[in-house]
């Protein structure tokens, strides 16, 4: 279980997170929604220790990672996979090498066993034929899927997704959504997904949390969220930003 308590983070004078409290339960997919620039990615990077918080606690099971040194943090990261917004695949390595890197790091496996595991991960994301290609030869959707294959290769307990469907066409985005659902059901991984795509959020999420003005304003199941009359939620649900603009134009 991941528990975030009273988390603060600011960059210069920009207070991005103020008193964030959030609980992520094992085996669940928790979706964090919020406007662009609301601090969703910052929250994800704080959870995995890529950024230090200014104040607050991040509990992974029974360890507060804020107090850990680099080496201890590395051992905690063993249990995490992270899918970056732009995939962040290593340019100089083939797809197979990208996926195998983490396995080599964590397990003392033979080359054949690593090869088999890479193949298994690529089959899971339905990309069996790209093992020897370089990231530059892949499309955006394929890169995302390879990113997922790399994140699950070392069989982590937690997997974090940063905007998994951003920049993809609706069909590819839906494939990614289904892939995340399969991760939850077949591999029993706990996922945290940061997105502003509400369709994604409702498809994937067991729990949806709204990050607004630096705090988690509300959290609930997709059904609860859908029925809420919260202003920001409604904006997300009906694309109210555009509606407001059109209304304003009519008023003028």
């Amino acid at each position: 279980m991941i528990k975030i308590v009273n988390l603060h983070k600011c960059f210069s004078s920009n207070q991005v997170l103020r008193a964030v409290n959030l609980e992520i339960h094992d085996g669940e997919a928790t979706v964090i929604i919020g406007k662009s620039g609301s601090g969703k990615t910052v929250l994800l990077k704080l959870i995995i220790g890529l950024l230090p918080p200014d104040h607050g606690e991040i509990w992974i099971d029974d360890q507060n990672i804020v107090t850990l040194n680099f080496r201890m943090l590395q051992s905690i990261r063993r249990h995490f996979g992270y899918v970056f917004q732009a995939a962040a695949l290593f340019d100089s390595m083939t797809v197979a090498e990208n996926i195998g890197l983490g396995i080599k790091k964590f397990f003392n496996w033979s080359d054949q066993k690593i090869h088999d595991r890479v193949k298994e991960c690529l089959e899971f994301v339905d990309l069996s034929d790209v093992a020897n290609k370089f990231p530059a030869e892949l499309s955006g959707g394929m890169k995302k899927r390879v990113g997922i294959a790399r994140a699950i290769a070392a069989a982590p307990r937690y997997i974090l997704f940063d905007e998994p469907t951003t920049g993809l066409d609706p069909e590819t985005a839906e494939n990614i959504n289904q892939l995340i659902v399969r991760l939850k059901h077949e591999l029993k991984m706990t996922s945290i997904i940061v997105t502003h795509d509400m369709h994604s959020a409702f498809t994937i999420g067991d729990s949806i949390a709204l990050l607004h003005n630096g705090v988690i304003e509300l959290q609930g199941t997709p059904e609860t969220i859908r029925g809420m009359h919260h202003h920001e939620i409604q904006k997300f649900l009906i694309g109210c930003f555009r509606v407001e603009k059109i209304e304003a134009l009519y008023e003028k």
Binding site: K45, I48, L50, F70, Q74, S75, R77, R78, F80, G81, Y82, F84, Q85, A86, A88, L89, F90, D91, L101, G102, K105, F106, A154
Partner: protein, 263 residues
């Protein structure tokens, strides 16, 4: 009035920025030193970096040193003509190459070829979150990326300098015996006359320092790159300029304080 106040404000801000940069640079070097124990992480990449810095730079280093040796010989022979015996050309050419031209020109070439490439590579990895990805996969990015570059720089730049010294001396010798009918024995007599083994050792020490400076600067600006593609471009330029300036300054400092230690 306004511009004066801006200047007054900007100096402390500039100094703060400079000290912050020095702090970050020192921090990266400290992390690198601490990461030396993480041998399994950097071993493989060190070999790759040594190939990149050493073997792939060899042609350009040999080409440059060959022409430097030739030009040096022509100019020295021109200066000696009718004023001093030609065999002194052997001494002047070899000494100037092993003391100065070999180490400094090799370093300046590598600052451009290797420093720019490494800064661009690390900078791109930073802005595309590849360094974050390494960290997330529980790698120590400093051990994985920076330490191999530093080790390879310190080892391979002196190796390349030895090749440059040899090529420069050989080309100088060839030009001397072809253009003024000097015998090889005469050239060697001149070369041996003022040669001290310390001169060669000094040149190698100097090139090891330059190797460290080139790789450390490239790693520093690359590792802390911000600002997307534009930031990568700036980092690349900065790495080359920083290295060239530091090479020239350190060249003087070492000539002033280290050269005489061998006497």
């Amino acid at each position: 009035m306004e511009s004066t106040s801006v200047k007054k404000q900007s100096l402390p801000a500039y100094l703060e920025h400079v000290f912050a940069e020095i702090g970050k640079y020192s921090q990266l070097l400290w992390w690198s030193l601490r990461s030396l124990r993480d041998f399994s992480t950097y071993y493989e990449n060190t070999i790759k970096r040594m190939k990149f810095i050493g073997i792939r730079s060899l042609p350009i280093v040999l080409l440059t040193s060959a022409f430097v040796g030739m030009v040096e010989a022509v100019q020295v022979l021109y200066s000696l003509e009718g004023r001093a015996p030609y065999y002194l050309a052997g001494s002047v050419v070899v000494e100037s190459i092993i003391l100065e031209l070999g180490p400094v020109l090799t370093a300046l070439i590598l600052a451009g070829r290797v420093g720019a490439s490494i800064a661009a590579e690390l900078g791109t990895m930073r802005v595309t979150e590849q360094i974050d990805a390494l960290e997330v996969m529980a790698f120590n990015p400093v051990a994985y990326l920076v330490v191999p570059t530093l080790i390879a720089g310190v080892i391979m730049v002196p190796v390349l300098t030895i090749f440059a010294d040899a090529m420069g001396s050989i080309s100088g010798w060839l030009i001397s015996i072809i253009t003024v009918n000097m015998s090889s024995a005469e050239f060697l007599k001149g070369a041996r006359r003022f040669f001290l083994p310390w001169d060669l050792i000094y040149g190698i020490i100097k090139s090891a320092v330059f190797g460290f400076v080139i790789s450390a600067n490239a790693c520093y600006v690359g590792y802390f790159t911000t600002g997307g593609a534009e930031g990568v471009g700036k980092a690349t330029t900065r790495s080359v300029v920083m290295s060239c300036v530091m090479i020239l300054i350190l060249d003087y400092i070492m000539a002033q304080f280290i050269l005489k230690l061998g006497w």
